[in-house]
């Protein structure tokens, strides 16, 4: 049971307060991007390439221009006149806005049609005629690395191969030595396929340029409005857009999960067209465009190795990665971290030796490398370590739970330094796994499994005990395009004791309007119901780097607590003045200061705030406001212990997830209801890639499942009834001891599911399955082993 320091009326930390944002959504009164309609607004649609790699010989727009309602057709050549045909990616690579001569992936933007209605724009799009000279694309990333592979990025002078970057960390020589001398070495190739966030709302914008005032308002589906404003100023400064004349508004967002971090060409074209026409321009992509052209996630080919003793002591681990980035590196990582935070891959285990290396490569696929509820490559790392740990347990014949218990970092060893350089802040992995094992009845399940195996039935139990790394990040190491990854909060308390607080982050469903209010309520004793939260308008909110990678609570949540504490310091001064005592004689109790030894002499926070406007001490600034920009001293390291039970039908390969228990540790919990909701959602985005989702390309670069008809987002039927719980090890460096949680379940659950499936199949010598593990893959594997 979570202990709360405040009453339900105040609803500070730990209360399952019902969400403040719900009412508007329940009435259909949310304001999403496509709901916006401005006078004179034009509509944009985009013609896209049917080929993965082709020269553009000619674009004929004459028929399109004849379509009633069509106002303009924009091509790369038009943008070239303004030097807007290329743009930088977040990783300082370059990406086409519209091509002038070559298309690099199927569904790439080729021409934009602007019209007076949505339907006319689509008609115009169908009438654009493009003549292509088709070339043989490079789809396989391993082939792309061959010395004789065609060089794709011919726009880069002197580029002689398709290699993008090399990265490594750890002690290579020491790791090699441990592996050479080890009693047991296991090695496994695994592929973490290309997937797509597929938030139910797609991406879109309304670009509204006002020629008279030289002012741009950009309404768009962005998780990071402030950073976008700066990017627009940097990219379009040369055409006269200046940052004080740019306002980015991120309205209600229908799910983000990382897919709404990047700047897509459609946004830039809409701005350019609005700039040229002086009219608002709306661009809303449809689902197929969203799946086929917007940034993908994952696409890591990993070789994982583990060295250990026969008795089950792990000694060293080694990972080699090939990252397929498509035609440009458009990942959304902090600048210094090309492969994100993959180096968390030693996981929850007490390693002192590790070595990891990664290479990235260009192919003729859409660009990306963004989040799917985890952007910084932690999912890939956790999959690798949790799978190879199970392979090792299988190899030495030890129970995977026992093996983990034996090798966990101990509670008393935190803060703990990993062999790749991270300082884990806190954790109690033994407690988490113990709780999960008790909740699911682990020992009884193992007994049941023995009985089932005697009868030839396939039942598997899989464990994943992961360590996450979220809350980017300390300014020493973390920036995006040079902007440090702090975040911010600004609190204004009005004379009657009610408040508004604004943040540099942007909720996409996480419930910030409730949880941020609860943090401030905890610190100031003002009821959370009386604290209005605003985000997403760069004209009013303080600067911040936005919401992704589970960073909002670790950064902006911390900023809220620190800003509130500044206000409490001011409140103490005012209370001392009002009660005519020294500040040292005052005691804070949620919502009021009272005089030590005389609790009847007190002032409530509401009385104090009123005095700040009506009767403040001479020499003190009037008003009751505070701002804080929080630069985290470290990342936070949430963790989890997940156990999955599956039953597999031998004849069909059908996999039934019978139970799934998730025990999460995200430090102090602000709102258990919301945290649990985040875990449910994250787990579902874990089973999705584990069993259903993958963007599949053929050798010509055609996407084979680019619609929701065949890209399998789980429905309520595929989603198990999740069982959830928590342990709490507060983050020692975070003002309220909290850690991020949103991406933990997506990161931690796929290996639990795969470990369970492989466990079920292990009596037949099956040691690994690549995700998504489908019934067909299982059936094929069983057939190969002669079981079916």
């Amino acid at each position: 049971m979570i202990q709360c320091k405040t009453s339900k009326e105040i609803s500070g930390m730990g209360h399952s307060m019902k969400r403040k944002e719900d009412v508007r959504f329940l009435h259909g009164k949310g304001h999403y991007i496509d709901d916006l309609k401005l006078p004179g607004m034009l509509y944009m649609d985009i013609a896209r390439s049917p080929y993965a790699y082709a020269k553009i010989k000619n674009i004929d727009i004459s028929e399109a221009m004849k379509v009633p309602g069509v106002v303009a057709v924009v091509t790369g050549k038009d943008l070239e006149k303004y030097n807007l045909h290329w743009m930088p990616t977040l990783m300082s690579d370059t990406q086409m806005v519209l091509p002038t001569d070559t298309v690099m992936y199927q569904a790439q933007e080729v021409a934009a049609v602007i019209a007076t209605s949505r339907y006319a724009a689509r008609d115009g799009r169908e009438a654009v005629k493009v003549e292509y000279e088709v070339m043989k694309p490079v789809i396989d990333p391993f082939k792309a690395m061959h010395a004789d592979a065609p060089v794709l990025r011919t726009d880069k002078p002197g580029k002689k191969d398709n290699h993008i970057w090399h990265w490594e960390v750890g002690d290579k020589a020491k790791t090699e030595k441990v592996f050479k001398d080890a009693e047991v070495v296991v090695k496994q190739d695994m592929y973490i396929p290309r997937i797509h966030v597929s938030s139910i709302e797609t991406c879109g914008c309304v670009a509204d340029y006002d020629k008279v005032n030289n002012h741009l308002t950009m309404y768009m589906t962005t998780q990071a409005p402030h950073a976008i404003r700066t990017v627009i100023a940097l990219v379009a400064g040369h055409v006269g857009l200046s940052e004080e004349k740019i306002r980015v508004v991120s309205p209600d967002i229908g799910g983000g999960f990382g897919g709404k971090v990047p700047v897509y060409p459609g946004y830039v074209i809409a701005i350019a067209v609005s700039f040229l026409t002086g009219k608002p321009v709306k661009w809303i992509e449809d689902r197929s465009e969203n799946l086929q052209a917007d940034s993908f996630a994952r696409d890591y080919h990993i070789t994982a190795e583990l060295a250990g003793t026969r008795a089950g002591k792990i000694q060293a681990t080694r990972f080699k990665v090939l990252a397929d980035h498509g035609y440009t590196d458009a990942s959304a990582n902090p600048s210094k971290f090309h492969t994100g935070l993959f180096s968390i891959a030693t996981g929850s285990y007490d390693y002192d030796t590790a070595y990891m290396e990664a290479d990235a490569v260009y192919t003729n696929k859409p660009p990306g490398g963004v989040a799917y509820r985890c952007s910084f490559r932690v999912t890939e790392a956790v999959h690798a370590i949790e799978r190879i740990t199970d392979r090792f347990a299988f190899e030495i014949g030890m129970d995977p739970a026992r093996l983990r218990m034996k090798n966990f970092i101990k509670k008393e060893d935190f803060p703990w330094k990993s062999p790749t350089g991270w300082i884990y802040d806190s954790g109690d992995y033994h407690a988490g796994l113990k709780k999960a094992m008790e909740a699911i009845g682990y020992d009884a399940l193992r007994k049941e499994q023995i009985e089932k195996r005697k009868k030839g039935e396939l039942m598997g139990i899989g464990i994943s005990t992961f360590t996450e790394i979220v809350g980017a990040g300390p300014s020493k190491d973390f920036d995006i395009l040079g902007i440090k990854m702090f975040d911010s909060a600004e609190i204004r308390v009005h004379p009657t004791g009610k408040a508004i607080a604004r943040f540099g982050t942007k909720s996409q469903g996480q419930g910030h309007e409730t949880t941020y209010a609860q943090i401030i309520a905890e610190e100031l004793g003002i009821p959370a119901a009386n604290i209005q939260i605003e985000e997403g308008d760069t004209d009013t909110a303080p600067y911040g780097l936005g919401t992704y990678a589970s960073r909002s609570t670790p950064t902006a949540g911390a900023a809220a607590a620190v800003a509130a504490r500044k206000l409490r310091d001011k409140a103490r001064k005012i209370a001392a003045y009002l009660l005519e005592v020294s500040e040292d004689d005052l005691v804070w109790e949620t919502g009021k200061f009272y005089v030590k030894g005389a609790p009847e002499k007190s002032k409530t926070i509401q009385e104090i705030v009123f005095a700040a406007y009506t009767n403040h001490p001479q020499g003190m600034q009037a008003g009751f406001e505070a701002t804080h920009y929080y630069d985290p001293p470290n990342l936070t390291f949430p963790s989890g212990a997940y156990i999955c039970v599956v039953d597999i039908d031998k004849e069909t390969g059908a996999i039934h997830v019978r139970r799934f228990v998730a025990i999460d540790d995200c430090g102090h919990i602000i709102n258990p209801m919301i945290v649990q909701g985040q875990v449910h959602g994250g787990l579902t985005q874990g089973i999705a890639p584990a069993m259903y989702e993958e963007l599949i390309y053929d050798e010509d670069g055609n996407i084979l499942n680019g619609t929701l008809m065949d890209y399998l987002v789980p429905t309520a039927v595929e989603s198990p009834k999740w069982e959830t719980g928590h342990v709490v090890t507060p983050s020692p460096h975070h003002p309220i001891g909290a850690k991020g949680v949103g991406e933990s379940p997506t990161v931690g659950s796929p290996p639990a599911i795969v470990n369970a499936i492989v466990d079920a199949l292990s009596p037949y010598g099956i040691k690994h399955m690549d995700i998504p593990v489908t019934p067909f893959k299982v059936w094929k594997a069983l057939k190969e082993k002669g079981v079916v």
Binding site: E201, Q510, H680, V717
Partner: protein, 167 residues
């Protein structure tokens, strides 16, 4: 050639002129400005655009506006008075059945018909019953709870605790 149609929208009769190819969802969103009905896909897969047509839940992206001629349309804006929540809406709020809110109106419209046809559904029946509506945020656990809550409330039996089992 545009067509003139007569539809009853949330209880009010309207005469509208539409292009024959206009999708019903576009008529609702762009002509009637009822933006609570959302669009999440182009293949009738996601259900975000679900409304009631003569009381039956349909995906309004898969029907032409002209096909609604003479019929009655109910959208999310028409199921309760602003400022009050009906039992389904209340179930969603009490049980944290929504995160981003984008799929929510479609879900609620589907559930409205589901509970009319089957006032006391099992969990399994609820899961199958909403399987034409995708939600990317919640993982469905709490949507199922919301439906069970609404079902109990509408039948006048005590609703289960809405405190999360997160221990």
């Amino acid at each position: 050639m545009n067509k003139v149609i007569t539809v009853t929208v949330n209880g009010v009769q309207q005469v509208l002129e539409v292009e024959p190819r206009t999708l019903l969802v576009h008529m609702i969103r762009e002509i009637l400005n009822l933006t609570g009905t959302h669009i999440g896909c182009d293949t009738s897969s996601c259900g975000a655009c679900t409304i009631l047509l003569d009381g039956k839940s349909v995906k309004s992206c898969t029907i032409l506006a002209v096909q609604a001629n003479g019929k009655s349309i109910t959208t999310i804006e028409g199921i309760s008075t602003e400022g009050e929540l009906n039992p389904i809406q209340e179930g969603f709020k009490e049980n944290h059945g929504l995160h981003c809110g984008f799929c929510t109106p479609g879900m609620i419209m589907r559930i409205t018909e589901l509970l009319k046809d089957n006032p006391d559904p099992t969990e399994e029946e609820i899961r199958w019953g909403i399987s034409g509506n995708l939600c990317r945020c919640t993982g469905y656990n709490n949507i199922v709870k919301a439906v069970l809550y609404a079902s109990a409330k509408m039948r006048g039996v005590p609703t289960a605790s809405t405190e999360p089992e997160f221990v």
